[in-house]
Symmetry: C2
Subunit: 110 residues, 2 copies
């Protein structure tokens, strides 16, 4: 993705939960954004299943609570690497990742 388009994405904040805000993106861009959203949702869901607070998950990751919050909101400062490593730290398997990636994006906005 070139810089120009990246900036276009960042300008939108890509914290959106529905498909409408993805309009105007190329298929690759849309897929990339949706992937990030799916992973971030999975992090929150799995963390809650494990009955962990963001602080506890941060300790698992040797990171900080604020970064976990950003991970769960798919903040633009969070890489796919960190999203995936967070899921792995929560005990997710490769199969789990595949399931998350292929599953439809949950509606964040009611």
């Amino acid at each position: 993705m070139d810089k120009e388009k990246k900036e276009r994405l960042e300008a939108k904040g890509w914290k959106v939960g529905s498909a409408e805000e993805l309009l105007g993106l190329t298929p690759e861009e849309a897929a990339y954004v949706e992937l990030r959203l799916k992973l971030s949702e999975a992090v929150r869901q799995l963390r809650k299943e494990r009955h962990l607070t963001q602080v506890q998950l941060a300790e698992l990751l040797h990171s900080s609570q604020s970064r976990v919050a950003k991970v769960e909101s798919a903040d633009e400062s969070v890489s796919l690497d960190l999203l995936v490593r967070t899921l792995l730290a929560l005990g997710a398997s490769a199969q789990d990742l595949a399931t998350v990636i292929s599953a439809p994006l949950a509606r964040a906005i009611a």
Copy 2:
């Protein structure tokens, strides 16, 4: 992953193709390394299916041939982000990614 372990990984070069070299890693670390290898293999395979050279793929990515080579060898300087964005640029879908991730790692070493 903390720095210390990252360095341990990098020291190993993680360019390995079989499971033996993954000994000594925690399950998360092994999953992370295997994930990178699967994605890098998929890039090379998909690129060849598309009958593209590394130079042509680099143009698609607005990147350079050298970086594509590193992507395909899962070089330590390549992020998951770039691996995934490369696959998406090659036309891979979320389903394709899921398939790659859940598939077993091809034996690079005969």
